[in-house]
């Protein structure tokens, strides 16, 4: 278009400020009239631009200083509004669209793992025995799935394939295994990280886990049933409280209660507190005697200021044979 040439492409100054604006006025009415018997050639020039013709006396002159300033200010204003809309759209992406992408990646690793198991290729390759002692680690390819995580408290059909690694790309696929922590069922700590909000948000409801809740891990050869630590009696007593704030305080206390080895059911820590994924959580110097599971996620929701940590202990394991489910899962019999 002519005005484009005269003013340079993306310029958001109104055409009213340029002589070329007059050309548009001349060109448009016939086209519009041809298609439609629409009223007179007073196109939607609008009050915004104030009508170029009269002001510049037929479109020959340059805009004076005030008009140029107005044009610049309007352009800056529109640019700022646009930037604001783009930022809002980014929030939509983070909270919603990122889940769509992550869900697809999770399905891919889930199906890939199912295919591997069906064809007898276990990524854990014989490392996965009931209650393995702590020791030599199997090297798993980062980003690949190797086990499934079931948490009935998050929904009857909640199942996520666990991938190796806690880098951004791995966590986009699903819960990620801290590469230096132990494997499912092994003595020590099988530690997982997962997103709280967005990107599949596997651990969105980590605050809904309570003492005694089951977390089930399925590998090619075994089912491992972990039970969330904390004081179960205190939790059950807390449920009977009628005062809501007293109840939530009592539940939090029941979750924070530590067991004989000093491991709580739940703790809120700073992002640098890597001792929570140690073989004996919070006690890196101790030698592990139990098989634990640790889940870590961002806390509070929508932020990354802290981390919410849930610890569970292996209470039962059964061989994974056929299509049977452990009895902790709906319809399970094993």
């Amino acid at each position: 278009m002519t005005s484009e040439q005269s003013r340079g492409g993306w310029d958001f100054s109104s055409d009213a400020a340029t002589p070329a604006g007059a050309l548009v006025d001349v060109e448009e009415p016939p086209a519009a009239a041809g298609r439609h018997s629409s009223p007179p050639p007073a196109p939607p020039r609008g009050p915004v631009t104030g009508g170029g013709g009269p002001r510049y006396g037929g479109g020959g002159g340059r805009p004076d200083g005030g008009d140029a300033l107005r044009t610049v200010l309007r352009g800056v204003g529109q640019l700022l509004i646009t930037a604001g809309m783009v930022l809002l759209l980014f929030v939509v992406y983070e909270l919603w669209v990122s889940n769509l992408f992550a869900e697809r990646k999770q399905q891919q690793v889930h199906q890939q793992l199912a295919t591997e198991w069906r064809t007898g290729q276990d990524p854990l390759k014989g490392q996965d025995r009931l209650n393995l002692p702590i020791g030599k680690q199997v090297v798993l390819p980062v980003g690949d799935g190797f086990a499934n995580l079931y948490i009935p408290q998050f929904g009857k059909d909640f199942v996520k394939t666990i991938v190796q690694g806690t880098d951004d790309a791995s966590l986009d696929k699903g819960p990620g295994h801290y590469v230096n922590s132990q494997l499912p069922g092994q003595i020590g700590n099988f530690a997982l990280a997962g997103h709280r909000v967005g990107k599949g948000e596997p651990f969105l409801n980590l605050d809904q886990l309570h003492p005694g809740d089951k977390i089930i891990v399925q590998t090619a050869s075994n089912w491992y049933v972990y039970t969330v630590l904390g004081n179960v009696q205190a939790y059950n007593a807390a449920l009977k409280l009628t005062n809501a704030s007293a109840r939530s305080t009592a539940i939090a206390n029941a979750l924070a209660a530590t067991d004989s080895q000093g491991v709580p059911g739940r703790e809120i820590v700073s992002p640098g507190a890597i001792q929570v994924v140690a073989p004996v959580p919070d006690h890196p110097d101790q030698t592990p005697t139990r098989a634990l599971l640790t889940l870590t996620t961002c806390h509070p929701k929508y932020t990354a200021n802290q981390r919410m940590i849930v610890h569970a202990v292996l209470t039962r394991s059964v061989p994974n044979k056929g299509s049977g489910l452990p009895r902790e899962l709906p319809g399970g019999t094993l």
Partner: protein, 56 residues
């Protein structure tokens, strides 16, 4: 900018509104499905996971 675009859309007001809506939808889709996925991992505000931090 928006005034400029509006003036360069052809057709009647109804057609222009339709085109404007389509343009907005196209820009949103481009941002949501192409630009943000590429840009997002590079943003410094992204929660850091790595050695010394407890992930996500």
């Amino acid at each position: 900018m928006y005034v400029w675009i509006w003036r360069h859309l052809p057709g009647t007001t109804g057609l222009r509104v339709l085109q404007a809506v389509l343009l907005v939808a196209a820009v949103c889709a481009l941002l949501l499905f192409v630009v943000f996925p590429v840009v997002e991992p590079r943003l410094p505000a992204n929660p850091i996971t790595g050695p010394g931090t407890v992930g996500q």
